[in-house]
């Protein structure tokens, strides 16, 4: 599903975020990417949906080498990847429902099918009934679940989350992780970056530890 080989990423300032990263995720696998702050977790995740490009090495996602993907092809790659960010990147000028509908606007869906999918996604994250609320009215944990609903509404094969529990209390964090794990059970490949090792140990997932730009 995802395969990194000899990936290095150097930022223009000369800072070397990743030195030599190689690993592969099988389809339907659950993996946690751990490591100290600044170990390169975010950079690694950004390489998968081509938010950043590697300086060298290859990043294969779903059989495509993302490193050499044309600009115009990137949107189509991203539609098959669900992204959840530490700051949820929700739009606060519209309702929860409209936020979840956003990805469906780009890909051609019949309005009824789109509405059905959005409701199903909200139902899966336990927010059915909050469709008309504004995200600002929701707690941090609930907002993160809206972000997850938006990430999965297109039914991606791959779900990536960058520190999804960083700003949440233990209970909300566990609930959010439970949701990710549930997606894994329906065949979605899930990769979560986190520094919360205690939380990770409760799940039967593979652990990729990133240290000084390398997976150890």
């Amino acid at each position: 599903m995802v395969s990194f080989s000899a990936v290095a990423k150097r930022y223009p300032g000369g800072q070397e975020a990743l030195k030599d990263v190689s690993f592969a995720l099988e389809s339907g696998e659950l993996a946690f990417l751990t490591g100290r702050s600044g170990a390169g977790k975010s950079t690694l995740l950004k390489l998968i949906p081509a938010i950043e490009r590697p300086t060298s090495g290859s990043v294969i996602v779903n059989g495509q080498n993302v490193a050499s993907l044309k600009r115009a092809a990137i949107p189509y790659l991203r539609r098959n990847i669900g992204l959840v960010f530490q700051d949820q990147k929700l739009l606060y000028d519209r309702s929860v429902y409209e936020n979840v509908m956003l990805p469906l606007a780009f890909s051609a869906h019949a309005p009824r099918e789109a509405a059905r999918r959005a409701r199903a996604a909200l139902d899966k994250v336990g927010l059915a009934g909050r469709e008309n609320a504004n995200p600002i009215q929701l707690s941090g944990g609930e907002q993160q679940r809206v972000a997850i609903a938006r990430a999965v509404v297109n039914r991606p094969a791959l779900l990536i989350a960058d520190e999804p529990t960083a700003n949440l209390d233990a209970e909300s964090a566990a609930r959010v992780l439970d949701i990710f794990v549930a997606f894994r059970q329906v065949g979605v490949t899930v990769l979560i970056a986190t520094h919360d090792l205690a939380l990770v140990e409760r799940y039967a997932g593979r652990i990729l530890k990133l240290d000084a730009g390398r997976v150890v």
């Binding site: 600009r71 115009a72 949107p75 991203r78 992204l83 990147k89 606007a105 780009f106 297109n154």
Partner: protein, 271 residues
């Protein structure tokens, strides 16, 4: 919306100028379609000598119509003009010479005027086209000025749209960022801005046409009074529909161009 008003007012200037110039040009071409030349004879010329000129004039192939205007008839015409009868009566004797009025069929008017002046007994040859030619020259200058104005204001339109779209992109920055991250294509993100630029330009064009139409309708009320005092039915023709449509289309295209430049510059800066 305010930008559409700015565009409308800016475009009304060249569009209105264009309508005015077209009216003047119409006047000039109508007058020069069959240019008339008046040949005034020496006032001491005998009637027989004067009439003898008719033959060489009729023989000239460059002329289509030759009409002899005896001085008595000229005086009568002059008297018919209101208020002048008193003046001519005060003069006592007829000050007008015999004259020919000829219509030019073809050829260089200046050359013709020179040739006619050489005929025996001719005192003065006056081509009525002189004023029409001057008018044509003035309208040509006006036209050039108008093109420059149109170009500058067109540039202004592009700049106004550029800025409107820039502000719109800034307000929607977050939405654009998120949309890009979750798989929106560039064209999907660009499209609404193109529409905005196009619509804003077209709205400005419609407004400009409306302003011109209204302004000319108001002007024409006064022009009618003025023209009637000259015994003329001259009116400033309003902007014809096809020209109004052209203004709207052009404004739309320039708006689209402004949007294109703005979107190309500012969307690249996001994500």
């Amino acid at each position: 919306m305010l930008s559409a008003v700015v565009i409308g007012v800016a475009l009304a200037l060249p569009a209105g100028g264009y309508a005015l110039l077209e009216s003047l040009r119409g006047l000039a071409t109508r007058a020069s379609l069959d240019p008339q030349v008046s040949i005034f004879l020496k006032s001491d010329l005998k009637r027989a000598e004067a009439q003898a000129l008719e033959r060489p004039l009729r023989a000239d192939r460059r002329l289509s119509k030759v009409r002899f205007v005896p001085r008595e008839e000229a005086l009568k015409e002059l008297n018919a003009v209101q208020g002048l009868a008193d003046v001519t009566a005060a003069l006592g004797q007829n000050p007008l010479p015999d004259a020919y009025v000829v219509t030019v069929r073809s050829g260089e008017i200046d050359l013709l005027v020179a040739d006619l002046g050489k005929l025996p007994g001719v005192a003065h040859v006056q081509a009525d086209t002189a004023w029409a030619r001057r008018l044509a020259a003035v309208t040509a200058i006006g036209r050039l000025a108008l093109w420059l104005l149109t170009f500058l204001l067109g540039l202004g339109l592009v700049a106004v749209t550029f800025n409107t779209i820039r502000l719109q992109i800034l307000t929607q920055r977050e939405e654009i960022e998120v949309s890009k991250l979750i798989g929106a294509t560039d064209s999907f993100i660009r499209r609404p801005f193109y529409y905005l630029g196009l619509l804003q330009g077209m709205a400005g064009g419609v407004l400009a046409s409306a302003i011109v139409w209204l302004a000319l309708a108001l002007l024409n009320r006064e022009v009618r009074i003025l023209a009637e005092s000259f015994g003329s039915a001259f009116r400033i023709s309003s902007l014809p529909l096809e020209d109004a449509v052209a203004v709207v289309v052009l404004a739309g295209l320039l708006g689209w161009l402004g949007a294109h430049l703005s979107v190309s510059k500012h969307l690249r800066e996001i994500g």
